[in-house]
Amino acid sequence: MKAAAFEYVRPADLAGAVKALAGMPGEAKPLGGGQSLGPMLNLRLARPKLLVDVSRLESMRAIEDRGSLWRIGGAVTHSAIEDASLPGGEPLSSVARGIAYRTIRNRGTIGGSLAHADPAADWPLALPALGAEVVIAGPGGERRVTAATFMHGAFATALAEDELVVAVEVPKLSAGARWGYWKFCRKTGEFPEASAAVLLDAQRKVARLWVGALNGAPQPMEALAADLAQRGGLAASEDAVSRALERVAPDLDPAQRRLHITAVRRAVQQATE
């Protein structure tokens, strides 16, 4: 199908982009890589009046080493992250490599993925597990939200209609930190049916375990993560994971439960073996 008519602008800078969005509240949408918005436009499921292309804004296209963290611009593509060498940010590259297909990764952006907030998407799961912060710009200037609180539900985020994800800041892992990431996909590159991410960083005393592809936003399993840090993979028994899952996602059907429990246990296995 073909998209319904819309206007298109490509402001030269961030201020111009925010202004264009604020000028048409509710009717204007940012355009990143168009890899989620494009399908919705073509199927006429989304019908904005104006697209504000932010994919070429220089300030949002850089990957910067900021000492203790990596700052990734909101318009950086998945494939740029896949190809980058990011000491202390290795999980970023490996997660990027697993998103969709190379043709999608070449255009899809990390900011667009976060803003789209598909419950099964990769960045909304991986970034909270990595303890990232989302840098947001709007008419009132810049603000920050933890990746853990950025996504509010399916396709719902902390962003106002005239705000942009300008960057994400991801703390670097210590040497020896362990990362596990598992997704169950019907077909390679499709959105997963269950997913999980684990970070165990002994030096920084950080243990996080997040489960994704739920009905709403990905969810943390904090107690289980702390237990994992102390006891290793043993803590993630079938039973313990099942109970932790029951707390954060009580309404999964039996097949989904099975997939999610197994995804969590496999991610844990990667991080602890």
Binding site: M1, G34, G38, R44, L45, D53, S79, A148, A156
Partner: protein, 398 residues
């Protein structure tokens, strides 16, 4: 129309394009380069793959105006490209095509793979090529063809590219985690603000749907702070019921049927389902059903839903309403709305309905509050995710 300048297969092209024209259509219809094929037009099949600034991309979800200043290369633009010629010969030799519909996209994706991952083995080839669908060949020939080109190049080029064995990660050593710095994603308890309150009693089954049709069934319940007779009365008043369901409008109705539409918002997606419904009521057991069908004409999505409800006296002048919603969704919206999402969405509608119903019953007739606004249902909203999480945890999950 917007003026754009870009390079197509090495030549500068100046053209007018409507913003909504995607690159695939621009190439095929305006540039007459019909080698780029369009299959799904929503990013799934890969038939439309072209190079944009040297990188493969789906031309169906890239808009021509967004390619201003870019270098676009289509399957017609690889006449003297060495890798492409090797791939063409190999596709021929290994029967990597039958109808040829997927072939332009396959070749462009394969060329990128050969250059980007020169040591890809069969598994990697399959993973890397998984974004291009072929309805004819079963992929065996395609994988063999790509592999033959990679193997031949490795033999000639540099046999040394054997990857250095990856350093094994250090063994895991236990540690004591600090308390998490980030607050949990779901906000903890906030006092409920909606008038709807959950009854702790287990749900009694609502009136069963007449005949079993394929669909998803959601059972839910809520309590209204008004006596059964009053609630039963308002359930017969379709305009009042519609006014409690955000986004619903009724254009015509009789005691047994209605015509109308319901506008929904699902994140960035919007749909307005217009249709009809049949109404049933059983006075004796205070139960009823609304069986509806609707179509969103703009996207061509279709929805069917049977809502069965039953009223129970909850004591103290309160009424417990149990509902069973059996629904199915077809068309474009269904592709985007994996089961769980729709489920949450339907539950949100029930929650909004309950809150509005309570508000309406509570307000004196004719007052402004009695007329709930026909706003859209906003799925994924923060409040209801939280509300339902809470209500469910109150009486245990199903």
């Amino acid at each position: 129309m917007q003026q754009i300048i870009l390079t197509v297969n090495g030549e500068k092209v100046e053209a007018l394009a409507e913003p909504r024209t995607h690159l695939g259509d621009f190439l095929r219809e305006q540039q007459r380069l019909t080698g780029t094929h369009l299959g799904c037009e929503h990013g799934v099949c890969g038939a439309c793959t072209v190079l944009i600034d040297g990188q493969p991309a789906r031309s169906c979800i890239s808009y021509a105006v967004a390619c201003e200043g870019r270098e676009v290369r289509t399957i017609e633009g690889f006449g003297d490209d060495a890798v492409m010629n090797e791939l063409r010969a190999a596709f021929n030799k290994y029967h990597a095509l039958q109808c040829g519909f997927c072939t332009p996209g396959m070749l462009i994706a394969a060329r990128d793979l050969v250059l980007r991952v020169p040591d890809a083995d069969e598994k990697r080839i399959r993973v890397e090529m998984s974004g291009n669908l072929c309805r004819c060949t079963g992929y065996m020939g395609i994988v063999r063809a790509v592999k033959s080109v990679i193997d031949a190049r490795r033999a000639v080029n540099d046999p040394q590219i054997e990857a250095a064995p990856a350093a094994a990660p250090a063994a895991f050593t236990p540690f004591q985690a600090a308390a998490p710095a980030a607050p949990p994603a779901v906000p903890p308890t906030v006092p409920p603000t909606a008038a709807a309150s959950a009854a702790p009693a287990p749900a009694a089954p609502a009136a069963a749907p007449a005949a079993k049709k394929p669909g998803t069934v959601i059972e839910d319940e809520f309590t209204v702070d008004h006596p059964l007779a009053r609630v039963w009365e308002i359930f017969a008043d379709m305009p009042a019921v519609a006014a409690c369901l955000p986004g619903a409008e009724i254009s015509e109705h009789t005691p047994t049927s209605l015509k109308g539409r319901i506008t929904t918002k699902f994140g960035p997606m919007r749909a307005a389902f217009a249709g009809t419904a049949a109404l049933e009521r059983d006075e004796a057991v205070k139960s009823g059903a609304i069986r509806g069908n609707g179509t969103d004409s703009l996207s061509g999505s279709r929805a069917r839903g049977d809502i069965s409800y039953r009223l129970h006296d909850a004591g103290g002048g309160r009424t417990r309403v149990t509902v069973a919603i059996d629904y199915s969704l077809q068309g474009p919206l269904a592709q985007f709305s994996r089961g769980g999402l729709v489920k949450e969405f339907v539950k949100k509608m029930v929650a909004d309905f309950a809150a509005n119903l309570n508000a309406r019953l509570g307000a004196p007739a004719g007052s402004a509050a009695a007329a709930a606004p026909a706003a859209q249902v906003d799925a994924g909203g923060f409040f209801w995710t939280w509300l339902w999480g809470r209500i469910k945890s109150l009486f245990g999950a199903k």
